[in-house]
């Protein structure tokens, strides 16, 4: 299994209102999800605001409206609308056209703001002190983020949504940005079926996708990852590989694939398969990121937005995202739950692996000990065979000089070994001591043996001298090795030269 740089993430569609124009475009934008690209991507599902995606078609005209997004007035609302329009090259034109062709929209926005203001402060519905009560009621509704505010007999009431700037249930969370390129061609599809279903029917799904894409033989649909989402939904990440006739293959870029899926007939057939949502998973360009960061979404106080940007724990991978309403919080909590469960399973797998490794370790250690013993035995046997052969080979000859030498050396070694205070003697002593210890049970002596200070100094001196001697020897050897290398090098060069001369 591959691990992505597993970041926690949440899909988000930023505020339905002001960024509606963006919803359809920002496959990548909306999906502030993790890096995918592995079976182990920690990505999370999309917002319930996804209805904005399929419903984007309705909001298109109105998308640029709702100057609620910026309390600085309607003009900047237009400005941001335009700015966001540029993100989607296809849509922006139509939207801009829509905007300019309906100049009456602009006054509508500013009216809305005025209406809200008047609804909240000075409704003139009833014309007496009950208006104050009405004002309070409207305020309460605005804080809740739901309801209608009546303030005038002639003008229809203002609808309060959760995005209005006075809604109290607002906070800012952080979501992870994907960093896949468009060429990676990843498109995310949300199915409203359980993960187990999807997994068991994965092959059929792939085939149906293939058919939807036109059954082209050059295209192959591959599944990048399958993830469970809360509420029995599953997220499947796919990419399509196109093999051109001259042998090269490339992935269909995410945007083209996504645009293809967005076509009406394709969309319906996808929906029959159970797809509730599709979007691209591409990284946000720096321009997009800047735009995002600079403009607080609908109804969020700019100060709070700035603060959120400052508080961002990882500004490279996370961007601030508004959380509006308890439902949003609940969704996030569910995703966190999911994530934790995944963590748990991974940890279980890892711990199994580790115990497996430990088992292997013990067997390996035993094997190593066994092989060592075997090696000693074999070497002894080899020696025996050699000896017997030597004896037979040389039978009839007189004792030779080097044999005499060998004899002398062996005798010395034997004497040394048998010397009472060295080697064998001491070893035997130690062995018997140990056997005694084992026999009487290992009594761990708690006594600390203190070394006499003088003795310690002597030992230190001795060790230091030893160290110096050793380093001296080591440097000699190293120098000699260097010299030998030089000599070898020189000899090799000579070969080449001479080879040239005599060829």
């Amino acid at each position: 299994m591959n691990y992505a740089s597993g970041q926690n993430s949440n899909h988000y569609f930023l505020g339905k209102a002001s960024l509606c124009s963006s919803t359809s475009t920002f496959g990548g934008f909306g999906t502030t999800t993790t890096t995918s690209g592995s079976a182990f991507s920690f990505s999370a599902p999309t917002n319930t605001g996804t209805s904005g995606l399929f419903g984007a078609t309705q909001n298109k005209g109105f998308g640029f409206g709702t100057g609620f997004g910026t309390t600085t007035g309607s003009s900047t609302g237009l400005g941001t609308g335009l700015g966001f329009g540029t993100f989607n090259t296809q849509q922006s034109q139509s939207n801009l056209g829509g905007l300019f062709s309906q100049p009456t929209q602009a006054p509508v926005q500013s009216n809305q703001l005025i209406n809200t203001a008047s609804a909240l402060s000075a409704p003139t519905l009833l014309g007496d002190e009950r208006d104050a009560i009405l004002a309070k009621w409207n305020q309460l509704q605005a804080f809740w983020g739901t309801g209608k505010g009546y303030f005038n007999n002639n003008i229809p009431p203002v609808e309060f949504t959760q995005e209005n700037p006075f809604c109290r249930f607002k906070a800012v969370g952080y979501s992870c940005m994907p960093n896949n390129k468009d060429e990676d061609g990843l498109v995310v599809l949300i199915f409203n079926r359980k993960e187990a279903d999807i997994r068991s029917q994965q092959q059929q799904l792939i085939e149906s996708f293939h058919k939807i894409l036109g059954g082209n033989q050059t295209l192959t649909v591959n599944v990048e990852g399958v993830k469970t989402l809360p509420d029995d939904q599953t997220e499947v990440v796919i990419y399509v590989v196109e093999r051109s006739p001259n042998g090269t293959s490339r992935r269909v870029p995410a945007t083209t694939l996504y645009a293809h899926f967005e076509q009406a007939n394709i969309k319906t057939s996808l929906q029959q398969l159970g797809v509730t949502l599709s979007m691209t998973r591409t990284e946000l360009s720096p321009a997009q990121i800047k735009q995002l960061l600079q403009n607080p979404p609908a109804g969020v106080d700019p100060i709070i937005w700035e603060q959120a940007k400052v508080d961002n724990p990882d500004s490279e991978k996370l961007i601030p995202v508004p959380m509006v309403g308890f439902k949003e919080l609940l969704r996030r909590l569910k995703v966190q739950d999911q994530m934790t469960k995944q963590h748990q399973t991974r940890l279980d797998i890892i711990s199994e692996d580790i115990s497996e490794l430990q088992k292997n370790q013990t067997t390996t250690l035993a094997k190593i000990a066994q092989y060592k013993r075997k090696l000693m035995e074999l070497s002894h046997r080899t020696l025996q065979v050699l000896i017997k052969q030597e004896i037979q080979r040389k039978s009839g000859y007189a004792i030779q000089a080097d044999e005499e030498q060998l004899r002398v050396q062996l005798d010395t070694i034997q004497c040394e070994l048998n010397a009472p205070t060295q080697f064998k003697g001491r070893l035997n002593e130690l062995m018997s001591q140990i056997r005694m210890q084992n026999h009487f049970g290992a009594v761990k002596s708690e006594e600390r043996y203190y070394v006499d200070a003088d003795l310690l100094r002597e030992i230190k001196q001795h060790l230091k001298q030893q160290q110096e001697g050793l380093s001296h020897l080591i440097s000699i050897i190293k120098d000699d090795l260097e010299d030998i290398k030089l000599i070898e090098h020189g000899l090799n060069e000579n070969i080449h030269i001479r080879g040239g001369v005599f060829s």
């Binding site: 804080f143 109290r168 094997k367 005798d411 000899l491």
Partner: protein, 195 residues
């Protein structure tokens, strides 16, 4: 409903709203904190996984090496066995000469010493194992521990010296051989040229 009732309801609800708002913000901060923890956990798990994978690879390699050693040892044994058989059969010859007996004694001595050395090595290993197991690890400032470590380091460097001096000797021999052959070639070529 009169407006007065509405007003009282509104007031009550406003208080509730305050409460709920506090809850909301509290929850939101919690959610953010948990998000962060989750991210950290995810990263830690990734690191852990990577380490485990590394260890798995190392272990696999180790196993492969051990298998190789096993096969080599088996090969050696297969080679040795017939030789030993052959030796056993032919060892019935009578040693007539005094020199042969001397030779036999010498080599038997060598074999004896080899056996002793091997058993001593085994004993040493056992002793060190025992000591290591029962020694435990008191604080590292203990002079005995330090002395121990120093001695170990000395031992390692002595081994290194041993290995490298053998290596050096081999290289010197190789180089002198190459040199000799080169010299002979040169002499020959000079003789050809100048004759």
């Amino acid at each position: 409903m009169t407006y007065a009732q509405l007003e009282s309801l509104i007031n009550k609800w406003s208080l509730e709203l305050e409460d709920q708002e506090k809850h909301f913000l509290h929850q939101a901060t919690q959610v953010n904190a948990w998000d962060r923890t989750l991210i950290e956990n995810g990263e830690k798990i990734t690191c852990l996984h990577r380490e485990v994978e590394k260890v798995k690879l190392d272990q696999k390699r180790l196993d492969q090496e051990l298998d190789f050693i096993l096969s080599q040892q088996k090969e050696l044994e297969d080679l040795l066995a017939p030789l030993e058989e052959a030796m056993k059969e032919e060892s019935g010859t009578i040693y007539l000469q005094h020199a042969d007996e001397e030779r036999e004694k010498t080599y038997k001595l060598a074999e004896n010493i080899d056996a002793q050395l091997k058993s001593m090595a085994q004993d040493l290993k056992d002793i060190t194992e025992h000591l290591n197991m029962s020694g435990g690890s008191p604080d590292t400032n203990d002079p005995l521990q330090q002395i121990c470590k120093i001695l170990n380091a000395h031992m390692d460097s002595l081994q290194w010296i041993d290995q490298n001096s053998v290596l050096l000797q081999q290289k010197v021999e190789d180089v002198s051989k190459v040199f000799e052959s080169r010299r002979k070639e040169q002499e020959r070529s000079y003789r050809i040229v100048f004759d």
